[in-house]
Symmetry: C2
Subunit: 227 residues, 2 copies
DNA sequence: GCATTGAATTGAACACGTTCAAACAAGGGA
DNA sequence: TCCCTTGTTTGAACGTGTTCAATTCAATGC
């Protein structure tokens, strides 16, 4: 897997070929799934040679990053409107998680197939990878908005870390969703409905005298390990 | 990936060939890593044809299950002796996590390479898969022993679930360990040292009046989703 | 002994992701 | 007009995991 030319500016023609290939890939991925879609098929569908697709994309996995980014954008849009009018933290968190399930629903079949690759933490598709950093940060920002625009009462030390922790919770929900074979992802929605009040109660608890110490220790440990 | 004959009883000769292949695979995995070890090389090393290795193992990933099981056995042995004399819950938990890091240390380089495959939740190598069930249950039993032989004070409702939750914690440590590039896995040992007192304090907290309700809700949600 | 049957074994063939040397295209000096 | 450079495009070839029809082996029944 060698690096691929990623100049800040690309010739219009090149940009268009790139798009053509990415679009063809998306079509086939959705139609047949990730594994059953061959690079040769993508090249054919795009009307381009096999080697050429490797000129534009470093490998098969990279062809899916576009999907990643697109979903993040869709989520941000859906969340933005739904967030208006919700002032309670519970409500805002619920909105974020629910809208994600809604937005992702059409891709459940396909995503289940390639998230299995994305679970590999060394893959560029991993949500923790450098390649995913932009999408990850955009998503974290969403949770930051949910916190900041709300009436949340939480231990002050925790407040700054909360968006990242919520993003982590979100990843947990995604993991559950990937394996959720129930119709319309009913079980994932159940999980969200149950987990949101739990989290809000937990955050409130962090202000209890006996609990605050533990919270500080947790944050201290996290800080230590981040170095 | 078709199924492979896994009769309860196997002819001695067959059993031996199976072992020969598994051993050859282990040697090469350790020497070159998972990815760089080819199925053809394994067949050669075992003095067997390529096709034959597929007669005994359904695929490359299955060749690593032996390693999994072996490590579980080593851990159980190391933990058993070290557990004697430790009565405190914190001490016992610490022993379990520390011995694992010790036992796994020689395989850190290799394991890092194939755990990337194991992270795939649909892979038979996933710790959640049916194939891993025996090793998983043996490991959970270890944590059950740590709980039962100790002076732990915890909300009664939680006590029964604790072994599985601790196993989950263990998986978290493993995930951290896989990505830990520090010499001698220093950072993972730091994590263990920090996380053990935290967990013990948290379990004690579950008996607080204000906290107990949340614990019950968590357990309720888990129960709901397990159906 | 011999035939029959099922397990064990083989190596060629397949499909796939990926690489690469070569060819092509388009512009811009001389 | 010719050449040189730079970006683009090509398809053959490679290495890999996996499959499979064919073959050999070994035990069992007669």
């Amino acid at each position: 897997m060698t690096t691929v030319p990623e100049p800040a500016t690309r010739s219009p023609k090149a940009e268009q070929t790139r798009r053509t290939i990415a679009d063809a890939a998306m079509r086939l991925f959705r139609a047949r799934g990730y594994d059953k879609t061959t690079m040769r098929a993508i090249a054919d569908e795009a009307g381009v040679s096999l080697g050429n697709t490797y000129y534009y994309f470093a490998g098969k996995e990279h062809l899916v990053q576009a999907f990643y980014d697109q979903m993040q954008v869709l989520h941000a849009e859906a969340a933005a409107t739904a967030l208006d009018g919700e002032r309670s933290f519970a409500g805002r968190l619920r909105v974020l998680l629910d809208t994600w399930v809604d937005v992702a629903a059409p891709y459940h079949g396909f995503a289940g197939q390639f998230f299995q690759n994305a679970a590999d933490p060394t893959s560029p598709l991993s949500p923790f990878s450098a390649e995913s950093a932009p999408a990850r940060e955009a998503s974290t920002a969403l949770f930051r908005r949910a916190v900041e625009g709300s009436d949340l009462k939480v231990a002050p030390a925790l407040r700054a870390e909360l968006p990242e922790l919520l993003w982590l919770l979100h990843m947990g929900v995604v993991l559950f969703w990937v394996h959720d074979a129930s119709p319309d992802q009913r079980r994932t929605r159940q999980l969200v409905a149950g987990v949101v009040p739990l989290v809000t109660r937990l955050t409130r608890l962090t202000r209890l005298p006996g609990v605050r110490g533990v919270v500080d220790d947790v944050l201290g440990l996290v800080a230590t390990l981040r170095t």
